[in-house]
Symmetry: C2
Subunit: 234 residues, 2 copies
Amino acid sequence: MKEGPDIAQIGALIGDPARANMLTALMGGRALTATELAEVGGITLQTASTHLSKLEAGGLLAQRKQGRHRYFALADDGVGKLLENIMGFAATRGHLRHRPGPKEPALRKARICYDHLAGDYGVRMLDSLIASGAISALDDGLSLTERGETQLTSIGIDVTGLRSTRRPLCRSCLDWSERRAHLAGSLGKALLSNFFDKGWARRTENSRSILFTSEGERRFLALFPIEAGEMDRG
Amino acid sequence: MKEGPDIAQIGALIGDPARANMLTALMGGRALTATELAEVGGITLQTASTHLSKLEAGGLLAQRKQGRHRYFALADDGVGKLLENIMGFAATRGHLRHRPGPKEPALRKARICYDHLAGDYGVRMLDSLIASGAISALDDGLSLTERGETQLTSIGIDVTGLRSTRRPLCRSCLDWSERRAHLAGSLGKALLSNFFDKGWARRTENSRSILFTSEGERRFLALFPIEAGEMDRG
DNA sequence: TTCATACTTCGATCGTAACCGAAGCATCGA
DNA sequence: TCGATGCTTCGGTTACGATCGAAGTATGAA
């Protein structure tokens, strides 16, 4: 009976609403202090502290002391990947947190998914990259083509540099709002950074949603066009 | 704050030890009755019944009435995939259920992972298929080559039939014991069925481990050889 | 030093959910 | 029709863990 890894432990860690809120907030990619996390969890600092030590002991979080602050972040992108996975699953089963506030549409349009672009725009970007032959989609997984390498290098992505890292270049990640894949992996991360660097978009303070400038949006849509007849997919 | 899918709900569902045990048992792929699941969960039938309704309401399980029995199974292979994912993660964080009984080595050697082969043998099989050029591994994902299609058809796999199903042919799945990928997807399932059909191996009653006959083991190892110098990977 | 801020630890309370005994319902075989 | 089996529902108990107030520790600023 007692076989294999214990899924109950991490299930329980993620299963508490306060902890889940904190983890979701940390999916934004930046490190947050205990006080900030207490806020997003809707609990006092003491309680948050207890939760955070549990999450750290469980290997989900890593902390970094900086002066009298303690910054918490997801332990590594394995954790991000896991949470994305669960989110994707939760979305397919209709487990939505029922407070669809005004930010919900913005979140569906474009948001950060740990370190890459997700939402309508994320899905569109991947679709377009596949349609243009920059990325080829196989049974399960994505691969950058030579043509794609040329194209992305021309817009300022250091593809050869990315290739030298351990992290996979292309990964697909199921988008919970669109229920279709968007691009993750080091390439996904680099593309989003590229948009930030160019001033096309910026993060929001208290949300995972990404705001495009009107100019940035125009350029983004021009760079990743959707072919006619492709609108009805999915 | 209240953004996106609720990971807490499924976290909580998986987070209870009794439920986690039942789900793990169902990873074996076959449907089990409420009574059997109560047994593996180490709880009474009443309690199990409550748990099972929660899991069903949460979309993790599906039940099928058959006479006065009620068979429970994972709702679909999305659930299996999710659980595998969490197991893989749990294994990397050292969350092992500490009762490494006598079955543990058998489990590491060969076990069923929802519907396909996992463990040392599962990893070996994929390695061998990649080495022989039957499957090509890309940044993230696997793809069956023409050569592979020929090879697998010759041992009795209906590849064209599998292609017609909705389910992806090749998927990689992180093996928690080996910490490397093995083959999932409809092809992974078909291969394991093939071994069963040929009498090379069989399932065990109360465990996810797979027992090879000595003849079956010999043939399996011959069919999926490991090239010299490849032993030290991983 | 002294005070303020950021956080942790302690101790106690409280709510929820896991749990089981008992009773109820459904299906099957005789 | 009757009893046996498989499972669910009900009711009450219990235990665990989330929660917070209060006190304690660490860092920085004055």
